[in-house]
Amino acid sequence: MIFLEFTAPQVDYVRLLPFLIVLGVACLGILVEAFVPRKARFVTQTALAILGLAAGLGATIWQWGDGGRGLADPASITGGVTGTVLVDGPVQCFWAILFGFGLIAAILFAERRAHAGASAFTPMAAAIPGSRLESEASEAGLVHSEVFPLALFSLSGMALLVATNDLLVLFVAVEVLSLPLYVLSGLARHRRLISQEAALKYFLLGAAASAILLFGVAFLFGYSGGFSYEKLAHAVSFSTMGDGILLAGMGLVAVGLLFKIGAVPFHSWVPDVYQGAPTPVTAFMSVCTKVAAVAGLLRLFYAGLGGMRWNWQPILAGVAILTIIVAAIIAINQTDVKRVLAYSSVAHAGFVLVPVVGAFTLQSGLPEGQAGSVASVMFYLVGYGLATIGCFTVIMLVRSQGREASSLDAWAGIGRRYPLFGVVMVIFLLSLAGIPLTAGFMGKLAAFMAAWRGGYWWLALVAVLGSIIAVFIYIRVIQVMFFREPAEGSDPVELVRPGVPAVIVLALCLIGTLGLGLVPGPLLDAFQAASSFLIPAGA
């Protein structure tokens, strides 16, 4: 264990490089808005975002493979940035996941062919929906190319949330990741009122959640006398103060993070926002936000509050059970595919909490070279992300009269009419349901096993029973796609030919889903090798 004592701020820029690249490119994006001619902006922004994220991903992987900073051996990482931000093995894994999915989402942002040559975003967000200004902007071919820098800012917030080692930075990171998302949610090209409503709802509830989080931070500050996780861990072990203030702070901070994860009972924004937001944005936030928030929760609870494990495990177990059961049951009744996937995403928030509760780590008896909680969570999130982005991409392509037709009735029989896309969608749905030969299954297997081995076998049982309910969600969609005839006189629904970006995204998600289902070993090993948090002394 390492004592982190520093007299002068000392920043390891190399370690921080991936984060700095993404943040820098986001700032650069604003300059592009100011100086590049309008016609070239969308292309420039697309290229910039994709290159920036690829560079960020590359830098993360480069450091990962860097022998001298071998992540397999946590003790060798001493030169990291400390105090407010700490880059260790799990952080690099989560960065790789975040930037990878961010890259896929950015490619999806650039899809135009599916929207008949326009982007998925409104031509002018400031115009009143249905007004002349709006139609003029549309005819003039205006685009909000700011979506790329906004997504990148959000991603840098997420990257910060993953790596934070300080309660204040935690709060700042949550805000940085959220604010751009509020804006992005309101930018849908069609059904703009629903989109704006979603943005407002997300903003108001999100602001409330942030306030709760900040309140919790204040409690924890009062308990530990500092903001850093080390202080917190130290205080948990040695403080003579009563536990009440600690428990209150812990609970409130957890609420703030669980809101971002979208766990029941803090999930009420999820279906509305996922439905209203432009589909590429939904794909982006349903995956990246969840990854970041789960990672933030993991770091705070394992590294900062590891000593309180016996207190938070039962609470999180309760949240997980509630999330799985409630979301799965409500999802069965939904009539809109986007809402179905939103509730499915809530249910997955519950599933991913299962190994978190297990807390099966090197500290709690995990043998070397076997899958523990942290690696399972990472793998689960990767499987979930691939399938979810894939599903939303298919949703983008199902259109009626130029608009997305996401109602379940409109989907009747499209699997029969477009067998290739039918099969692709079925594979994504089966992965979400956790059926073998897909990444989703391997994720479930590893995740539930970690929970069991961490001593929570009954939680694994409940999670499996919940999966049975959740299976209905996906079978229902498959059933509609293949075995239901479209209603007489309904609008003709077609599957538009995807452009290059959507094809790339679909191919990546498909290869990933099947590939990780067949050969999960290398990724799981890599995650496991880098899964030790630098636990501050005193924990």
Partner: protein, 505 residues
Amino acid sequence: MAFPFLTVLGLIPLVGVVLIILSKQAAARVIGLVMAFAALVYTVGVVATTKMTSGAVAEHVTWLPIIGSSYALDLDGMGLVMVALTVLLVPMVLIAEWKTGIGETGRFSSKAFVCLVLLVECFSLFSFMSMDLVIFYIFFEATLIPMYFLIGGWGGAERGKAAAKFLIFGLAGGLIMLFGVIGVGALSTGAGAVTMSFADLTGLDFVSNPVTKLLFICFFVAFALKAPMVPGHIWLPDAAEESTPGGAALMVGVLDKLGTFGMIRVCVGIFPEESQWASPVILVLALISIFYGAFAAIGSKNLMRLIAYTSISHFGFMVMGIFAFTSQSITGSIFYMVNHGLSTGALYLVVGYLISRRGSAGVNDFGGVAKVAPLAAGFTLVAGLASCALPGTSSFVSEFMVMAGAWARHPVIAGISVLGVVLAAVYILWTYQRMMTGPVTDATRDHVTSDLTWRERWAIIPLVAVFLLLGFWPKPALDEIAPTTDYYMTSAAVTDLVAQIEEGR
């Protein structure tokens, strides 16, 4: 590493799928049939070679050490006979369903049909060959997906609902089993290194406690849903009724065997103590299945449902044989799995011909068929008698072994089960009487205008030939199966009671 014979065997159907996807609609059936026969010939070749050279075919590749799982394939006696059944039945199904999906609207194409049949073959071969719990689980579950589309894509009016019912029951069972798989992984850590290999797990001696009992129950429930036992059977009659005859033959003949197969591999293999602990209850359930299936078959008015109910009765016998824990009854059970696949497969196919001619599956819609289509009637009778275990057919051997073996340990239960044989004669002969004998009804004369064509005959003849051959000369099959039985009897530390009693006297 030696040549991966078994992987190649499993991949042959998959290669067929890829070729079919790349080829035109018209060529699909031919390619499918060629690949199905290739798998059959290849299996015969591999088995013959290894028998002659007494070489091993086991494969072992490290796959996921992080949870103790590896890609391990092997063929023991039980696996071999099931693989043989699968590779034999699949080409026959393809021949019998040669015209399915051709020139029809509202159903899927024939190309899709052939692809799905080959996928079912591929996945079930891998699950019969796997020697690792996770690999077994993966393919056990994977079979559900192509079968779901096989039921839903072709068949009766309510096929969509029946397919969903099939899938939901299958996935529910599968997820219950997933809990078992996870638990076994976690427990094996407690007993040493984490492992998922059947051989290691069978060797491990878990101390029986509530958790291992729970795990056993999870596995058993999953398998009992699969090899449908009352009360987990309710999906089967619907799925069979709405499926095509070929699909039903595959489902009942091959896929449902994964249930009884798993009971031996996993329940008896990994949880011998728990299996014996639960055996009284399971034997009673098996008895209930035998009689429920038989009575439901007698009362059934739909041919496809009728055969499904007879299968529930037969699965009752198989389960009884397994959990009676004598080497005779277990060997009989494994042999029963093969025979049931042959006889029920043949029965489904031949009845399917009649149904497609008549345009109805109602038992009472037929009458006097024997005069119009003597061959069809004859094949129905032969397959039906094989399914009710007439001496001379292989089913007789296996059913006798199951009952005789069970008698040694549970005379009362075995004695009651004998009545099931009587009921079997009733449901087969009474059905035959109503459909085939008597005056030719108008409906029969109008619809059943032709007897079986050569194509149709050739889908049945090999199956009939094999079950007749094994009926008169079962020794090769029983010799294959016996070592498997001994292995599981030894690992369960059970000895046959009969021998002990005789010595005692």
